[in-house]
């Protein structure tokens, strides 16, 4: 692109009062080499925008440096098709957060213009990625339970095609085994209508159903997934655009339960799953002799909420036991039904079912540690009743039902780390050491569900307890694999009512994914981004950092260790760009060279001027908005800082620090998101990776004979804007103690 740069300086909102605009214009003209430099008292107003449009039309301006407010506001006003626009944040991050009329404030603004010019100089308009092969908009649905069936139905109703793969011979999943269901409005038991859903999906011409089938292999990425499905010895290949992963759950293995719960000691001690099977197939009977049970006890939290067994709550067992208790009462009103529970968990309207069970005469015994004693057909439950303070002893029970929990199918299988270790056992020690990266690996279990041909492992990485989600709160359907969305009980334990909605929600994400990918756009969290990373392969040293570090497993590898990027799997965070020691990975509008040029464009005053300079590499999702809000609140902070927003701090390449320090910048501050178990990074591991990379910065500092205090990493949340000024001031103070960078003037 033949660039014609124009700089527009807004003097409104206090910018004109804080800064010497004439001087700024000179910098734009002489140093930024802007063909046009204009100022306006209200650039975002009608007049201002008309002026910009006229210049685009009449003067051929195609690169606009807009020195005004933050890019987070007036985004629609300053959007010009076919032009490159860079917003210089003179308002929130200069005029509103620095002393007006001060020499340092002026220098900051001037630097921001230089930095913008450097950025535009290295920026090209992104061209959307279009794979050579045709994009498929079909959706693969893994699992034919309620969530999967619903996803198939909803995909079809939205006008898309679905391929549904179910391992069992019949569709319906766990619900097929269920007699009655508990769902809205929770006033009583409802008939199980899963068969109607099975019929609807089976007859749907938009849905290709494979039962008794498994996925042997999944290769490619969004838009271009190729899925190999094996059924009855035959193999079929489908091309799909996105995947709804609704492979469901398995009941917790009752043989693993504490012996005090009596499982296996009497045929009359069963699980809630066995209860359902009985209820569905001819009614609930006493297993030892087939008699009608008159005394039935339910024991909640069998193995659940137990750090040694299943540490989490399976969410549905309280409601399920209530349902089963009511079922007994409805078929045999004379029966004595007891529920031993720690806490009754019936959120929302499900509380009504709890009330219904009480009305039906179910007896509730709140206790912590019930014990089952069983021998032959005789079963006894003993517990210390929390409410009565007495021991409750129920003898001659006909049936004891253990409320066992849900385990996602992704929680089974060998740890992929072990598989990798085995694969590498044959390699020489030296090679192993070379590859030994300190990057934490995702927990992937070889659960034989998707069989992804991904370099980082064949299944979805688990977050906790084997659930494959990636952002527990804000983005519930997302996984760490692009275009694969989790739904139903594989995502979190849930009841049938939630599973219906979940199937629809994940189907929505899958449809959105194929629509975005077909336009060459990124999906969450940089939804709509048209840029993608390009690899300059001639300089690749096969170090595998990019393939190891990508939080989304987007990059495969050939036998020699060369990266094989899969652009439709990419989330455009730039972690690979930050990881690459050879700096061969670039986006059209975001690159190592660009950030390097931005850093180099900062004017570093001579040592005797006593004006240190600090480069702040700030996560644009959280730290940068926090800086804006500090400005909005007119908090002032250190004037030596020069903020460079990063797509994710994980895109920080160590060369940035070397560039800055070797140029005489006194310190580099990295502002990233909280990491660890409760990470806040949109890209899962970006800030963590940046911090790990930083452990290597010592080499850079040693080489330059510089103090380690010159580089600091701080985690900040978007709401930490009250703390940011102090973080910046403290770092500046530390640097004053360290003294000026001796490289100034070199």
């Amino acid at each position: 692109m033949d660039k014609k740069l124009a700089t527009y300086i807004c003097t409104g909102c206090g910018i004109g009062e804080a800064l010497d605009i004439e001087q700024l214009s000179k910098v734009a003209q002489k140093e930024c080499k802007a063909a046009l430099v204009k100022t306006h008292a209200c650039l975002c107003g009608q007049d201002g925008v008309a002026m910009l449009k006229a210049d685009i039309q009449n003067e051929g301006v195609n690169c606009l440096m807009i020195a005004a407010c933050s890019p987070r506001v007036m985004y629609d006003v300053f959007r010009f098709d076919g032009c490159l626009v860079d917003r210089v944040n003179l308002r929130e991050q200069v005029a509103w957060s620095q002393k007006p009329g001060d020499e340092d404030t002026q220098m900051m603004a001037e630097d921001y213009l230089r930095m913008s010019a450097a950025k535009i100089g290295k920026m090209d308009p992104p061209e959307p990625y279009k794979p050579e092969e045709e994009i498929s908009k079909d959706i693969l649905i893994v699992g034919g339970g309620v969530a999967g069936l619903t996803a198939a139905k909803e995909v079809s109703r939205a006008g898309y095609k679905a391929v549904l793969v179910e391992r069992e011979k019949e569709l319906g999943g766990f619900q097929r085994k269920v007699a009655k269901i508990a769902t809205f409005p929770y006033k009583g038991l409802k008939d199980n209508d899963v068969e109607a859903l099975v019929q609807e999906v089976s007859k749907d011409g938009n849905v290709t159903v494979y039962t008794g089938a498994k996925i042997e292999k999944t290769v490619g990425g969004p838009g271009v997934f190729k899925v190999t499905i094996a059924q009855n010895g035959a193999v079929k290949e489908h091309k799909v655009g996105a995947i709804v992963m609704a492979a469901g759950w398995k009941p917790y293995d009752p043989s693993q339960l504490d012996p005090k719960l009596g499982y296996g000691q009497s045929p009359n001690v069963i699980t809630n799953v066995q209860f359902e099977e009985m209820a569905k197939n001819g009614g609930v009977k006493r297993p030892s002799d087939g008699a009608v049970p008159n005394n039935v006890a339910f024991l909640q939290c069998a193995g659940q909420r137990d750090p040694e067994k299943l540490p989490y709550c399976s969410s549905v067992c309280c409601t399920t036991s209530l349902k089963q208790a009511i079922f007994i009462k409805e078929t045999n009103p004379e029966a004595n039904v007891y529920i031993f529970f720690k806490e009754m968990r019936t959120p929302g309207q499900a509380e009504d079912l709890y009330r219904k069970a009480q009305e039906e005469g179910v007896i509730f015994i709140r206790c912590q540690d019930p014990q089952v004693k069983a021998s032959g057909a005789s079963v006894t439950v003993e517990a210390l009743d929390d409410l009565l303070g007495d021991t409750v002893l129920l003898e001659d029970l006909d049936l004891v039902v253990l409320a066992t929990g849900m385990v996602p199918v992704t929680a089974f299988g060998e740890d992929y780390a072990q598989v990798r270790a085995r694969l590498r056992a044959g390699e020489t020690e030296q090679k192993k050491e070379e590859e030994e990266l300190e990057v934490p690996q995702d927990a992937i279990l070889v659960s034989d569900i998707l069989n992804l041909e991904y370099r980082q492992g064949p299944e979805l990485p688990g977050l906790r307890y084997g659930f494959p989600d990636s952002h527990f709160i804000c983005f519930p359907y997302e996984t760490r694999r692009t275009g694969i969305y989790a739904a139903g009980c594989v995502r979190r334990p849930m009841g049938v009512a939630a599973a219906f909605e979940d199937g629809a929600g994940a189907a929505m994400k899958a449809i959105q994914c194929v629509e975005m990918v077909s336009q060459g756009k990124a999906v969450h969290p940089r939804a709509g981004d048209m840029s993608f990373p390009e690899f300059f392969m001639q300089r690749c040293t096969q170090c595998k950092r990019c393939t190891e570090e990508c939080p989304f497993g987007a990059i495969n590898e050939d036998e020699k260790g060369n990266p094989l990027p899969q652009p439709t799997r990419c989330r455009r965070c730039g972690v690979c760009m930050g990881a690459c020691p050879e700096r061969i990975i670039s986006f059209k509008n975001y690159s190592v060279g660009m950030i390097g040029d931005i850093i180099k464009s900062i004017e570093v005053p001579e040592e005797d001027e006593e004006k240190p300079r600090i480069v702040v590499l700030a996560c644009e999702n959280d730290a940068y908005p926090a800086l804006d809000m500090a400005g909005l609140r007119r908090m002032t902070y250190n004037a030596w800082v020069r903020v460079i927003p990063m797509r994710c701090l994980g895109s920080m390449n160590l060369i940035f620090i070397a560039d800055a320090l070797s140029k005489g910048i006194d310190g580099v501050l990295l502002l990233g998101c909280k990491y660890g178990d409760d990470y806040q990074c949109h890209f899962v591991k970006g800030s963590e990776l940046a911090n790990i990379r930083l452990s290597k910065v010592k080499e850079t500092l040693d080489r330059l004979v510089l103090e380690s205090d010159r580089v600091r990493f701080e985690t900040v949340a978007i709401s930490d804007y009250d703390k940011l000024p102090k973080i910046l001031d403290d770092f500046a103070e530390t640097l004053e103690g360290v003294g000026p960078n001796p490289y100034k003037g070199f």
């Binding site: 909102c13 407010c69 506001v73 985004y75 909803e154 989490y312 959120p347 959105q512 709401s719």
Partner: protein, 420 residues
């Protein structure tokens, strides 16, 4: 399939469910009108200090959703707007939207000159009226749209002209009137959310008259730096840090006389707020009075984490009555320990009532007939052909569930307008 006249979708309510429904549908390629009653998007979530269980700031999730809207011209946002009429059928609805005057137009840059010129103050709705704000105000630090609002009381006051003249950008229109828009849409997602149960109805807890009895939503504002106390948890009566804090669960929920259902989120919300107290007041004694701790799925981990706090007393029992000492404004919680059957009178400095979620549809139903349950929740997501209910309009739910539900509703709304 409906005889679709238009492919536009309307989402009513800009809280977590509605916001999710709008951006998800828009990113799949559909035009969306997002209608929000407040002057800003984000709903109740914007007023929270942190989310459980990660203790992360809601602004973070809102920022990314706002960014999705900014990057997607298909979403048209109407704030201070309410739907007053819906006519027509799936694929062809005519919706009347009433827009209240903001008195500030789109020329507003957010510079704040109007607020500087304004001396009149009003109760601050963002902080549940716990402090005041200038009558020319930005609703909160991350308000989206980033645009000021003039309170009608200011417009009527003698100061109005002065404030108008203070604006360098001609953004203030004192004669702005209520407007009515007619929009044609193919389907509608109704996500008008919830309100905290009215404490005035809780007579045994002081009916809102005790200064140091606050609600869980107010506690969120007290803990937030952009709240009325710059994030300091202080007693409203004297501005002192409380030494004992009581969280009273099921204040109106699971109660046949109030909200018979369980609001689902309050246990976790209170335990989260206990961490706010602990962080600020290391030696405070905290009571958590409860019937059952309802922490489903992995949220159990959070309960275990909070349980490690040895000055936090998990007290099983529903508080029967709260009394106030007139002079000190200290409080006494009368509660029976259901484990020991002993009656306790526990003096505390601050009470936080875990008031439940009342669906807004229970007081402001849809302007077209749809089935509700007895509590005023819309009875199912498929409220009627082409109209879908999402989030707390349907059932009490937390943030993750609201997002999930809003996303599901987006697909249903798309199905109603898709042309085959």
């Amino acid at each position: 399939m409906a005889n679709t006249v238009t492919q536009s979708i309307m989402v009513v309510g800009g809280g977590m469910s509605g916001l999710s429904a709008a951006v998800e549908a828009a990113e799949a390629g559909y035009e969306v009108f997002l209608v929000e009653k407040n002057p800003y998007l984000g709903g109740r979530v914007a007023q929270l200090h942190q989310y459980f269980p990660k203790l992360c700031p809601p602004y973070c999730g809102l920022e990314i959703n706002f960014r999705r809207i900014k990057d997607n011209p298909r979403v048209k946002v109407f704030t201070m707007a309410e739907v007053t009429a819906i006519r027509g059928v799936e694929g062809d609805f005519d919706v009347t939207v009433k827009i209240s005057p903001r008195y500030v137009n789109e020329k507003c840059t957010g510079c704040g000159k109007c607020a500087e010129a304004c001396t009149l103050e009003i109760q601050n709705p963002f902080n549940y009226n716990m402090d005041t704000v200038k009558a020319a105000y930005l609703p909160h630090d991350m308000a989206f749209p980033m645009r000021y609002v003039l309170d009608p009381s200011l417009v009527k006051s003698a100061e109005a002209q002065k404030v108008k003249e203070a604006c360098p950008y001609d953004a203030i229109e004192l004669d702005m009137a209520e407007k009515t828009l007619e929009l044609k849409v193919g389907s509608i997602v109704w996500a008008t959310g919830w309100k905290p149960y009215d404490v005035k109805k809780l007579e045994n807890y002081g009916a809102g008259a005790f200064a140091n009895v606050i609600t869980n939503v107010q506690m969120e504002r007290l803990a937030a730096w952009n709240g009325p106390t710059q994030g300091k948890i202080l007693r409203p009566s004297d501005g002192q840090a409380p030494k004992t804090v009581a969280f009273v669960q099921c204040a109106g929920s699971r109660d046949q006389n109030h909200l018979p259902f369980c609001s689902g989120i309050c246990c976790l919300a209170s335990l989260k707020q206990a961490t706010y107290v602990r962080e600020q007041i290391p030696d405070a004694t905290i009571y958590f009075f409860y019937i059952d701790v309802r922490a489903t799925d992995r949220l159990e981990d959070f309960v275990n984490r909070v349980k490690a706090d040895d000055k936090l007393v998990f007290f099983k029992g529903k508080v029967a009555k709260i009394t106030e000492d007139g002079a000190s404004k200290n409080l006494v919680c009368r509660v029976e320990n259901t484990m020991t059957e002993e009656l306790h009178e526990i003096p505390v400095d601050l009470v936080v009532l875990a008031t439940g979620m009342q669906p807004n549809t229970s007081e402001t139903p849809l302007p077209t007939p749809v089935p509700y349950d007895e509590y005023g929740f819309v009875a199912s997501m498929d409220a009627m052909p082409g109209i879908y209910a999402a989030g707390t309009t349907r059932t009490p739910c937390n943030v993750a569930e609201s997002v999930a539900d809003g996303t599901a509703a987006a697909l249903k709304a798309i199905q109603s307008v898709v042309r085959r």
